[in-house]
């Protein structure tokens, strides 16, 4: 495992190159290019704030901010997993013809989505600044949370991209799984709305803990009535599960990797 991580490090330039390719291909041909990453969250916020403040009246102040500061990190997960699932199969021409550590393919998808996520955060900062959020108070926590979440995303993406080579149905199944995961994470509802007896279940999901961090960093600095960082025990549990998922994902990937070229 560690030797393969070492090999991966020696291929870091290829990883960056493929990440750039992902991004270039994504924005190639669109007039606004990278600006879409800034525009997207702002437009999403406008839509949600209309639906949830005017139509549904959820009773949460500035619902758009409440939502978007958690929706962006969740999208980082779901986009990576959704695009990553078919990444090995979709790059059969590479897998069949050239040797390099295959994990570079799904990891480049994750990195491209991370870059996108960071761009979107810039847009979020601008909006928060305009609306008078003191988001800089806990900002030092942000890189740490993103760093930890990265391993969760990477582990999941590695796992599904490898499994999908052998079970192509996964490609269809994964959208459903991600939808369940979305509603099993306090993204469109606050954690406090979950009944006490179900809180335990929902807190096993590491994304619950991370979203709580994001929401505290961005949203609760202005509306502190629901504020509260996760406890140390909760954080460590989430961290442990994340590390477990990452290593399981990497391990499964490496075990299946030698058979990729034959199965595609």
């Amino acid at each position: 495992m560690f030797s393969s991580i070492k090999t991966l490090f020696s291929y870091r330039e290829l990883l960056l190159s493929l990440t750039k390719k992902e991004l270039k291909v994504k924005y190639r041909g669109s007039a606004l290019g990278f600006l879409w990453s800034l525009l997207n969250p702002i437009l999403t916020m406008l839509v949600y704030s209309f639906v949830f403040s005017v139509v549904l009246r959820a009773g949460i102040q500035e619902f758009a901010i409440f939502l978007i500061c958690v929706l962006l990190p969740f999208n980082f997960l779901s986009n990576s997993v959704n695009y990553g699932t078919g990444s090995i199969v979709g790059n059969s021409n590479l897998v069949n013809k050239i040797y390099f550590p295959r994990e570079i393919i799904p990891l480049s998808v994750v990195l491209a989505n991370l870059f996108n996520f960071l761009l979107e955060l810039v847009a979020l900062f601008i909006v928060l600044g305009i609306m008078g959020y003191k988001f800089y108070i806990y900002l030092y926590l942000l890189p740490i949370v993103i760093f930890i979440q990265f391993f969760l995303v990477a582990g999941m993406t590695l796992l599904v991209s490898a499994l999908n080579v052998f079970f192509r149905d996964l490609q269809h199944l994964i959208t459903i799984i991600m939808m369940v995961w979305f509603f099993g994470t306090p993204v469109i509802y606050p954690l406090s709305m979950v009944p006490e007896k179900y809180q335990f279940i929902i807190k096993i999901n590491p994304m619950t803990i991370y979203t709580t961090y994001y929401r505290n960093i961005f949203y609760f600095v202005k509306y502190p009535e629901g504020a509260g960082f996760p406890s140390v025990a909760e954080t460590l549990t989430a961290l442990g599960i994340t590390i477990l998922i990452f290593f399981v994902g990497y391990f499964v990937f490496k075990r299946l990797e030698p058979r990729f070229a034959e199965e595609i």
Binding site: E13, L18, R259, E262
Partner: protein, 451 residues
């Protein structure tokens, strides 16, 4: 043993190990061929057991070692395991058993431009492709101009490659690959790139690469290239090494194998064709089956398709020859020569009273002469399976000079169906006398009386 000697031996062993660039040790590769292409999750869950598959032995206990600086060619018919071997060396697939050791940096050219993205420009694709092939960024930067110049695509380099012709695409792919400059280069049938001038350039680069002491392992069906480039050739067949050694011997061995194969293929094809045509003659068009009808047709064609051989195959015409008076086989004759045209027939089934016939046509397909044993009122008797018969026609040449085709035939005694008919199987050359024109040389006594 003296410790100095021991040390010396170890050093030698070590250095001989270093001499070897690629060492393939008794490698076996089995592929699983799934009957249904990909097992879905549903099948796996519902059936418990894996879907049915067959094992295909692509490589069977293959051992090759290629030294540094050697150019090794892999030849063999399709499906012999050449490409599998290259993929194993390139670590793209793993051997089922055995070991492969690679000494030095290795780059595999199994497909040119693998991983090119159609929406990205030539320049962008150079960076990605070179990185995939293992080049470092600053290396690519310094070689970029070289790569572009070599590909001769300066004008198109900032255009998306989806607008490239397939030739341009391959040229760019080759230019990138050749600039990676590894210690060991694996090439799979990718030298046929672009026009003649570009190909010459490619060969030159490969030669330079060889001269600089690099190792090349090349798979090609182009035997000229193989004998030209390689210092060692391996002949693979059905996943096994048939022979290896100096290119001349191995290539000629492979050539004779190919020729043998080709012969077999042609015979098979003819057999299949004859069966097929005979069937269409029987089923498709009753009228043509009529022996009298067919004997009146000068060029045999059914539905516009010219038939060269047809019949049930109950008897087969093996050889046909022309003999002179002394019994020597000849390929030409002159007016007035006594000659004998004879063909051999091998019976594949028991046939009573077969009819043996012959037809001679000129180059336009006009029937000059035709006859058979029935017309000659000859009783041929009964032939049993694997009997042989020689059918001979002795005659005096009365033809005008030129080339004539001979079509021998064996028919059933119903005078309607044939065992074997080979159209234009043999040709007779009659030397010119420059005395007449037309078809037959009547050789008249010519006289002129003046009154």
């Amino acid at each position: 043993m003296n410790s100095a000697v021991k040390k010396y031996k170890e050093e030698r062993k070590e250095s001989s190990k270093k001499d070897i660039a690629v060492d393939v040790k008794s490698v076996t590769k089995k592929y699983r061929i799934h009957h249904e292409k990909i097992p879905s999750l549903k099948q796996t869950i519902l059936k418990f057991k894996r879907t049915a598959y067959e094992e295909f032995l692509a490589l069977d206990d293959v051992s090759i070692s290629v030294k540094h600086g050697e150019t090794c060619g892999l030849i063999g018919p399709n499906g012999s395991g050449k490409s599998t071997l290259l993929k194993l060396m390139a670590k793209i697939i793993q051997p089922t058993s055995g070991k492969i050791a690679v000494n030095g940096s290795l780059s595999a050219l199994l497909e040119l431009g693998a991983g090119f993205h159609p929406d990205l420009t030539g320049r962008e694709n150079i960076y990605i492709n070179a990185a995939i092939l293992g080049m470092k960024k600053r290396n690519i930067d310094s070689k970029l101009d070289n790569i572009i110049a070599f590909s001769e695509l300066e004008r198109f380099i900032d255009m998306p490659v989806k607008n490239y012709s397939s030739g341009m695409y391959m040229r760019l792919g080759f230019s990138v690959a050749i600039n990676v400059n590894p210690d060991i280069l694996l090439i799979d049938e990718v030298l046929a790139v672009g026009d003649q001038a570009f190909q010459a350039k490619c060969y030159k680069v490969i030669y330079d690469f060889m001269k600089s002491g690099k190792t090349i392992i090349i798979v090609s069906h182009d035997l000229e290239t193989i004998s030209d480039l390689c210092s060692k050739v391996v002949f693979l067949k059905d996943g096994k090494i048939i022979d290896m050694g100096k290119p001349l011997g191995i290539v000629s061995k492979y050539r004779s194998y190919i020729e043998e194969l080709e012969k077999k293929r042609i015979i098979e094809q003819q057999r299949a064709e004859r069966k097929k045509i005979f069937k269409t003659v029987i089923e498709g068009n009753r009228k043509i089956v009529d022996g009298e009808e067919i004997s009146r047709m000068s060029n045999l064609s059914i539905g516009g398709e010219t038939i060269n051989r047809f019949g049930s195959g109950g008897a087969e015409i093996m050889t046909i020859d022309l003999f002179d008076k002394s019994g020597k086989a000849v390929d030409y004759c002159s007016f007035g020569d006594e000659v004998k045209l004879a063909y051999k027939v091998l019976f594949k089934e028991n046939i009573e009273e077969p009819i043996f016939g012959i037809r001679i046509t000129d180059y336009r397909g006009n029937i000059i002469y035709g006859t058979n044993s029935r017309l000659n009122k000859i009783r041929t008797g009964v032939f049993k399976k694997s009997d042989e018969a020689t059918v001979a026609f002795s005659f005096k040449v009365t033809l005008i000079g030129g080339e004539y085709s001979v079509s021998p035939a064996v028919g059933y005694n119903d005078n309607k169906t044939y065992c074997d008919w080979i159209n234009n199987m043999f040709s007779i050359n009659v030397l010119h006398r420059n005395m007449a024109e037309g078809l037959a040389d009547l050789n008249p006594d010519m006289s002129i009386e003046k009154k």
